[in-house]
């Protein structure tokens, strides 16, 4: 029974993403409930919350319309296609965070009375992360007052009675409320010692009562606090007073990994809500501040948002759900004469994970996909064709599959080739599903055909108890289109429940011609450093590649994608993901990072110093998350000096990096974009002397 592969069948709901459909398929006991079913929510339980019919999509659609729009139900132009392209129909939400009065037929609300009024020359840095410490002194001014204008804790303990915000979950705090909490939990006034244990609990940032509560801020290192410090932290005792006054912050604490999914199954949903909420709150504060602009200038504060998350697998052409919606948000803002949101995302740390493969497919090709033992997280693999011609503009359901696939689990007889059509799946045993789907690009009359393989974790000690096999799967793809094509295979990001645990292990591809190390024993990066164009890259396998490992979320021309390098000698971080061999859709998707910023101080000083979880502490964190925050900082500080109406963040940073990086042996664009840009952080001492 473990090897039995069932016939293809239509998905129960064509518009649910495969990850979400599979998430629910292996949790049969957890039925979808509705916000509005009238039943109480147990704070110790976790729910899959949706709404009847299409109401959640309707609410999400209404949510992305800009604040103050005259008719929020009027669909935005050029974005109809988004709403048939996989918005989730339900999301997991812990019971303690649920808004029991949420009305999905109504938009979210903002109470202007609770918001602060600020000066017109402010720049807002938004950080969407996990474990952002709102009380940290580096997010305050010299008087101990917070610089945080608003913060949404998406997993926060919902206050009772529910505030009238019509947010589906979580809790928000605004500037004055944060200051009040600072007063209540400080010894000797706002500049005195902050009782962080008490403050963090009162602010809904730390929760030891519920299994799904946040706890990072009680540890030593908290990703969100470090990233926010890198992006917008200032020493109140030393920083320029004008910068302290003008550089404002908005923070969204994402839910914990159990809620957003260990492979980011629901990350897009929560991240998009976060982006839109930051934009809406910034607009509302603009209104509250009664500000105006000269003729020809857009309304609103310059806003730079850093989102240090991503996924290794995806379309990587800028046409996925996340990028379509983000593009629509900015399109709406332009239409309503509001400033665009500048979004900064890391390229990812997947360069050496053996998770990206490329088939130049004339006939049939095969690769081994290894799911590791002792792995307690589900595993996913995405397979996509290159863009193929769709001159008749056929709909998704009408497109015949150009590739067939044979998926053989470990220990099973060789599976035959088969193919599905759009929004179909077939079950493999009771532990895996293979989905087939089509992505349409109307603008270019092209389509892409894909398969997504989802397999349950090899080991489970708690729900869901369905387990999948560990070992070598065989993945075969056959071209039945009649013309050679490229097929892209990517192993999806995979994390553990706790940040430093090792229970969520990522599968990898295996090929004999893939080399992890150089002949001298050092780690093999994509290119040698210093780079010699005559040498080309250091890839040894035409199939299993470092090229193309770039974060699927960052692959959009509308987003700043940031790679990382080592400050002392300029060497790109070996783990910093590499761009694609060529853009899959030049109109919407990028091939390479925008630029590279530091993510390590030196060979023996790994990472960059930034705020630790506890106020006053410092920790070193490395990774392109840190590089991304550096780029966000550079952007924000520039916007303090010059924020023209048509500011192009990508063009600006590309130009800065290109001008700054004239060193010989400069790495090529797939690793560093246009160049390496050192960014000065506000630290009182340098680790490098």
């Amino acid at each position: 029974m473990r090897c039995r592969q069932h016939d293809w069948q239509d998905n129960s709901n064509k518009q649910i993403p495969p990850y979400v459909d599979f998430w629910h398929a292996i949790r049969p006991a957890q039925s979808i409930r509705s916000w509005d079913d009238g039943k109480p929510f147990d704070p110790n339980a976790s729910y899959s919350l949706g709404v009847t019919g299409d109401a959640l999509t309707g609410w999400l659609r209404a949510f992305i319309t800009p604040y103050g729009r005259s008719d929020p139900t009027d669909p935005p132009p050029d974005s109809d296609d988004i709403w048939t392209t996989y918005p989730p129909k339900f999301v997991p939400v812990p019971g303690f965070a649920v808004n029991g009065t949420f009305d999905p037929t109504q938009p979210s609300k903002i109470d202007l009375e609770r918001l602060p009024a600020i000066e017109a020359d402010s720049v807002v840095v938004g950080v969407i992360d996990s474990g952002i410490g709102l009380g940290n002194s580096r997010f305050r001014d010299g008087g101990g007052n917070t610089r945080i204008l608003a913060s949404w804790q998406q997993n926060g303990l919902r206050p009772r009675p529910d505030p009238d915000d019509n947010l589906p979950f979580g809790t928000e705090l605004y500037r004055d409320e944060i200051d009040t909490l600072l007063d209540s939990h400080s010894v000797g006034g706002r500049t005195g010692y902050l009782r962080e244990d008490e403050f963090n609990r009162a602010a809904g940032l730390v929760d030891f009562h519920h299994p799904d509560g946040h706890r990072e801020l009680s540890g030593r290192t908290s990703h969100g606090t470090h990233v926010l410090d890198t992006a917008a932290g200032l020493d109140p005792a030393r920083a320029d007073p004008a910068t302290l006054r003008r550089l404002k912050i908005m923070a969204v604490n994402l839910p914990n990994r159990a809620t957003i999914g260990l492979s980011g199954e629901f990350l897009d949903f929560f991240a998009l809500l976060a982006i839109k909420r930051i934009a809406d709150l910034a607009d509302a504060i603009w209104t509250k501040s009664a500000l105006s602009v000269p003729e020809g200038m857009p309304e609103g504060f310059p806003v730079v948002i850093n989102l240090s998350f991503g996924k290794n697998a995806g379309l990587k052409d800028g046409l996925d759900f996340f990028n379509l919606v983000f593009r629509a948000i900015n399109a709406e803002r332009r239409r309503c004469n509001r400033r665009e949101i500048h979004l900064v995302i890391p390229v990812g740390n997947d360069n050496l994970e053996q998770g990206t493969a490329l088939f130049d497919l004339a006939d049939t090709m095969e690769i081994a996909w290894q799911t590791p033992p002792e792995d307690q997280s589900a595993n996913f693999l995405e397979i996509w064709t290159e863009p193929l011609a769709n001159p008749q503009q056929a709909g998704r359901d009408a497109i015949d599959p150009p590739i067939e696939i044979a998926v053989t689990p470990p220990g099973c007889p060789r599976a035959p080739f088969t193919s599905g059509r759009n929004a179909q799946h077939r079950r493999i045993g009771d532990y895996a599903r293979l989905y087939s789907l089509v992505s349409i690009d109307v603008a270019s009359s092209q389509y892409r055909f894909g398969y997504i393989l989802c397999s349950a974790a090899p080991v489970r000690y708690s729900a869901p108890l369905v387990t999948g096999p560990m070992g070598a799967w065989s993945i075969q793809v056959r071209n039945v289109s009649g013309s050679p094509m490229r097929v892209y295979l990517n192993v999806q990001t995979d994390q553990s429940l706790l940040p430093r645990a090792a229970t969520g292990l990522r599968p990898r591809f295996e090929r004999e011609d893939y080399r992890r190390y150089l002949d001298n024993g050092r780690v093999r990066d994509t290119f040698a450093y210093p780079y010699d164009p005559a040498q080309g890259d250091l890839e040894t396998s035409p199939v299993l590649r470092r090229h193309g490992t770039i974060n699927a979320t960052a692959v959009s021309n509308d987003i700043v994608a940031v790679a990382g390098y080592r400050l002392t000698d300029g060497k790109p971080a070996a783990y910093s993901s590499t761009g694609l061999s060529g853009s899959l859709d030049p109109d919407t998707g990028r091939a390479n990072p925008t630029l590279a910023t530091p993510c390590d101080d030196g060979a023996v000083h790994f990472g960059l110093l930034g705020a630790g979880a506890a106020n006053g502490s410092a920790v070193a964190l490395s990774g392109t998350s840190v590089a991304s925050a550096c780029a966000a900082r550079r952007l924000a500080l520039h916007l303090l000096t010059d924020a023209p109406a048509d500011f192009d963040a990508n063009a600006f940073l590309e130009g800065e990096a290109q001008a700054a990086d004239v060193a010989p042996g400069k790495p090529p664009p797939p690793k560093i974009g246009t160049g390496r840009l050192p960014v000065a952080l506000d630290r009182s001492v340098s680790r490098l002397g």
Binding site: P211, G219, L498
Partner: protein, 300 residues
């Protein structure tokens, strides 16, 4: 030695006028540190008496005065605390090193927040060492009368990262000792009582709180154990200071109203249960008073 004595002593004639006189009763400087600390410990231990009604209650008295009274938490209460213990386990990766060292060494951590040098603060170190020893003697009896099972006895999934001790979970020994040390040290550093020190989050109490919480992280205590230990530790410390000086003692009570069953252990929650007004005087103990003054002199 015998051969040498035979060779050099001769046949002395003793002169009674050269007999030594006893030292001043308040001068213990001629003793070595170990003996002096032992003597102080003995004197302090003699201050406290622990009694029980046999039904999960314990009281600690000094002379005729009750300085601490506790009623153990109910099994129903403990059940609600178990989820907190499980959730605190998420911090184990960060705190394992601290937890392991703090199994047997607390004073080193206090030495990092106060200059506890063996020459400069010799009397202080001896006094703190004696306080810690006496605290364990008192807490052992309170634990015996207020027995509460350990988290591992309720749920094997707690899986503590250190050996669970054989004695009662309530009150926490680490919390008791840490808060007792903190209260005495705070007296020396700031000449201020425990309630005031906790209200102002003085460093010794922040450390004591962390030591206590680390035991919950390790999986061997509930938050309520730490609260009970914090109150007991402060009560012991204040009684010792009262015996050493002209201070009066407070009567600290741990009962139903101190914590709700889902409450966490926060430092700010300790102070309200330390009564503001001291109530009664206890008899001074000369040895304790003398060595306390020696310690105080090191902070002036």
């Amino acid at each position: 030695m015998t051969i040498t004595q035979e060779a050099i002593a001769g046949q002395p004639v003793f002169d009674p006028n050269t007999l030594p006189y006893p030292p001043e009763p308040t001068d213990a400087s001629y003793l070595d540190g170990t003996w002096r600390t032992g003597m102080l410990t003995s004197a302090l231990a003699g201050l406290f008496k622990v009694a029980s009604d046999g039904a999960g209650k314990a009281s600690v008295t000094v002379g005729r005065h009750t300085v601490f009274a506790a009623t153990r938490p109910t099994p129903e209460f403990i059940k609600h605390q178990l989820q907190l213990v499980r959730n605190y386990a998420d911090l184990r990766i960060d705190r394992s090193a601290e937890i392991l060292v703090q199994m047997s060494d607390l004073l080193s951590f206090f030495g990092a927040i106060a200059f506890l040098d063996s020459r400069k603060r010799e009397a202080t170190l001896e006094f703190l060492s004696a306080v810690q020893t006496v605290t364990t003697l008192v807490e052992a009896q309170v634990k015996y009368w207020c027995w509460v099972g350990r988290p591992i006895e309720l749920a094997p999934e707690i899986q503590p990262i250190i050996q669970t001790p054989c004695h009662s979970s309530f009150p926490s020994g680490h919390a008791t000792e840490a808060f007792a040390i903190a209260a005495v040290l705070h007296r020396l550093m700031a000449d201020s009582d425990a309630r005031h020190g906790i209200e102002n989050a003085a460093m010794p109490f922040r450390l004591a709180h962390r030591i206590a919480v680390n035991r919950t992280v390790a999986g061997v205590h509930y938050p309520v154990d730490s609260m009970g230990g914090a109150l007991l530790g402060c009560a012991i410390a204040e009684a010792i200071v009262a015996a050493a000086s002209e201070e009066k003692v407070r009567e600290v009570t741990f009962g139903d109203t101190v914590m709700a069953e889902t409450d966490d252990f926060l430092l700010s929650a300790v102070a309200p249960h330390l009564p503001k007004r001291p109530l009664r005087a206890v008899a001074n103990e000369p040895i304790v008073e003398s060595l306390w003054q020696a310690a105080q002199a090191e902070w002036q």
